[in-house]
Subunit: 551 residues, 2 copies
């Protein structure tokens, strides 16, 4: 793959719609009844067309722009409307709502597309000299406000640094089974490049169609197959980070006792320390066989018990998920679009109780033997085997659910997701506390919600919980959601759980993160930033409050 | 277990002998020939008896001592000869050589034994105020100079902070399968406490008899069963750190995307940031069945290929090790003491070629099925099955090998170990480079060595290499070893490998670590230290050079 094929112009994705514009979603007919039940009768005003959105006047000092142009070349320092708008925000509902209302006040002054690591280092040093904030831009799929300064006035300007031209598979070590991928390689391209040699990364987050390697690393991404292939932070054995102070290279062995694991300080740093320009990740042979099965449990508690046993006693499947009763009854992932048909009707009973998806990928022998072991365990744990059909329906439709958000927003619904992780012994209590917090906060605003939940990632000691919230939009849906989100964050922290299992901190979770990390470790992180980014220009406001890092 | 049972006085271990004094080792008769072949004819002067070793005059300001006494109580601020000497050094050969020669100049002024986390915090704050260096002391088994300041004059005094009274199993969460253990719990006691509830930690480093939980955490320890149970840094889900600046609590879920994984910044910090007072670790049910098997490979390369396939394709055994030809022929771990009998003689052929130990622990069904799968793979990879006898011989004798060092030192041999880790594609080249470096350096000093090596820990992407070196002592064995060690470090770094897979950095690897971490990340680590330990009193000289952290 050459740089040109993925080069600007024309963003691949529509600024305020999820995913690939070639695959827009429409609501099924059955949705009307469900929307009406939520009190949604009339759609809100349509979104402002992208071409009509006004962008703020660029503020960047001309000297900085000239220097950046000298470093990157004229074609790779862009200030046109399309490039700036496309790099304004991510894919969270608040980000979409702002753009829908025509608010692009967070647009960067310039969009930079460096060709390689050295150009990134030079561009960062230049921005640091001119006190220009740099927002690293990888796939652009952040759902936690990772891409937009909310206090840009502190800086002489803001640039988006888009790594899309760092798009190579640099090295494949077939003996060690590792691949060195540049940070701009998007998920599907990584799979394509590795497949040519018989390998897979096995990293399939919900944002797979848009996200890229640098973002996976910077946000500690977890794919839907993390039970089998591991989280992205578990796959990384080495990395290269460009910072305003220079280059950092880490990773001389899979594991080491040479001091703290500093790779884990870069992973999850969300651009606040620098730009990840490449990572070396372990890869696996492409699976010979995939088997995705459905199991039904009578209650969420029974399903959680079964998942826990699989996670603790094995064999650990490649994919392991459990939807609660509400999510199972709505089955958002069903490609036949059963949304709103209510629980218990048809579908071989798969819309009743709690649906678990249990997937195995690997050699034929491995899949066959592990599936048999897991089936015996799930059977003993009270599960009802539903066969391959629900598993395959989930697998083939798994990237479709988020596409429903756009037509739902069009219709007047408010839709958003949030997530956490905790230990098994607290899982059900945390689910209840977060559901209650969301329900109370939205009902109190006159818009009682439906709250769906699933367990999306499992570990020996605990699991993640992923919530989807749907309700009617109030007059100011942005404020409406912030109140609900704030209540959910409070419930998560009060329960002792983490503010994010895989979405990250961004700017949206900054306050909660300060509580989670604690004042001393937050100071320690600021101190690290002061070394790697002494002028405080790297993705300011992410992880750490502005006042802590502004020079 | 109450505090009293493991309380001072009388150190459990002899200051300059490995392990439990109840199980001293003597050299087998066959050793004489081997020692003679190395040019060792007469023993060196015997070590200075412990009671005759002179300790330096305590320098600690009396105000500091009074405050510490007020915090901890008279009985837990000790300045007697035995307590100070017992906390002077660790278990590396250089540490033993210094003590054998009567050099205890690194003895701490005082030995503190706080009762709980709050007393640790108070003691650290007191030491920081008085510019007294604090050496956290857990099991006292460091082999990289983690326990002795080599530039104590920069401080107003030095105390050893021994966590032995933090010896409780604080909590067992059987649903999440996690245990919260205080840092002073020694390995065997942790197993005893967990066994009472049917669980095991599964962490069995070579120093198991002496090491304790805090040291495991502070040094990123890896046990001999790390393939199955994981490294200690993989087991920790939460931890509490006492620092001069206050308390840090981390870990709200098994995994999180809330910023960098700050737990991994504390693990491996070797006391330079504070004192780990407790960790929450995942535990497993005690195995129903253990099967340890021997396999022979014709060459190290063939054995490495087989181990790699097992690590990459599975099933991963609980224990997986491979000795090279030299180590196999000497079989140091053989309880029948075949040392020096040379290769190829008897023992069912287990002293010929390269011996692999393949161990499985778990439920009966798991052990049986995984052993069958692994055996098929090892068979296909050219291995010869040797049955259970070599496996059981290794398992039952596995803590005995290091005991041989003391009688070897007594006899005039120089013996030491060192280790690294790298990716599979470089493994054999690294082994050769390190062996060559050691051989050249020692041969150049007139003492040609025998260098043994084994693979002790395996990962999908690579493995560790563990070297044992034996040669005749020269006139100044400390200098003799330092020259060899320096050559080995250089070879390790030049090969791109890590300076330590599980021994740590301590003071002995400080320079190599600076090269491995790189100047920016070393500055970042200093910056973290400046937040948690603003007066630079925590285990100074470990990880980071003194000048970087002295106030």
């Amino acid at each position: 793959m050459t740089s040109d094929e993925s080069d600007l112009p024309a963003p691949a994705f529509t600024p305020y719609r999820w995913g690939d514009p070639a695959h827009p979603a429409t609501l099924p007919d059955s949705a009307a009844q469900a929307l009406s039940a939520l009190g949604i009768d009339a759609p809100p005003p349509p979104p402002v067309p992208a071409a009509d959105i006004m962008l703020p006047e660029p503020r960047l000092p001309s000297a900085a722009r000239e220097e950046l142009t000298a470093i990157l070349g004229t074609d790779h320092v862009r200030a046109d409307h399309d490039a700036r708008l496309a790099h304004t925000r991510g894919w969270s509902t608040p980000d979409l709502l702002r753009l829908r209302s025509g608010d692009a006040s967070a647009a960067p002054d310039l969009v930079l597309t460096p060709a390689d690591h050295d150009q990134v280092v030079a561009a960062l040093a230049c921005c640091a000299r001119h006190r220009v904030a740099v927002v690293p831009y990888s796939g652009g799929t952040s759902v936690v406000g990772g891409l937009s300064l909310d206090d840009a006035g502190r800086y002489a300007g803001v640039v988006a640094l888009d790594v899309r031209r760092l798009d190579a598979l640099e090295e494949l070590d077939e003996v060690s089974r590792t691949a060195t991928l540049q940070s701009g390689v998007r998920g599907p391209d990584a799979e394509r490049m590795l497949a040519a040699h018989g390998y897979t990364l096995g990293h399939f987050p919900q944002s797979y169609e848009g996200a890229s390697i640098g973002g996976y690393a910077a946000t500690r991404s977890a794919g839907q197959a993390s039970a089998g292939y591991g989280r992205f932070d578990e796959m990384v054995v080495a990395l290269v980070l460009a910072t305003p102070a220079g280059t950092v290279r880490l990773g001389r062995a899979p594991m080491s006792a040479a001091g703290p694991d500093l790779r884990q300080l870069v992973l999850g740093s969300e651009g606040a320390l620098g730009v990840v320009t490449s990572v070396t990740v372990r890869v696996r042979p492409r699976p010979q066989l995939r088997r995705y099965l459905g199991w039904r449990f009578e209650s969420f508690g029974a399903g959680v018990g079964a998942l826990r046993r699989l996670a603790q006693e094995g064999p650990m499947p490649t994919v392991l998920r459990l939807s609660d009763e509400t999510e199972t009854s709505l089955n958002l992932a069903d490609p036949k679009g059963r949304l709103g048909q209510g629980p218990g009707r048809g579908g071989g009973g798969r819309h009743r109780g709690c649906l678990a998806i249990v997937g195995f990928e690997g050699t034929e022998a491995w899949v066959t033997s592990r599936e048999a072991e897991a089936s015996a365990l799930l059977d003993a744990a009270g599960g009802t085997f539903l066969g391959e059909e629900p598993g395959e329906a989930w697998r083939t439709g798994r990237y479709r659910a988020p596409y429903l958000r756009d037509p739902l927003l069009d219709a007047g619904a408010l839709v958003e997701t949030l997530e956490t992780a905790t230990f098994w012994s607290r899982l059900e209590a945390v689910k209840q506390a977060v559901t209650d917090a969301l329900t109370e906060a939205l009902t109190g605003q006159g818009t009682p919600p439906v709250v769906l939940c699933h367990v999306s990632h499992v570990y020996e000691a605990g699991a993640s919980l992923y919530f989807t919230v749907v309700c009617a939009q109030s007059g100011t849906p942005l404020d409406q959601w912030q109140a609900a989100k704030s209540a959910a964050n409070h419930a998560i922290l009060a329960s002792g759980s983490t503010i994010s299992h895989h979405h990250g901190v961004g700017r949206d979770h900054r306050r909660a993160y300060a509580e989670e990390a604690g004042p001393l470790m937050l100071d320690a992180l600021c101190a690290v930033k002061s070394v790697l980014d002494p002028n405080g220009v790297m993705n300011p406001g992410v992880l750490i409050a502005y006042r802590r890092v502004t020079p």
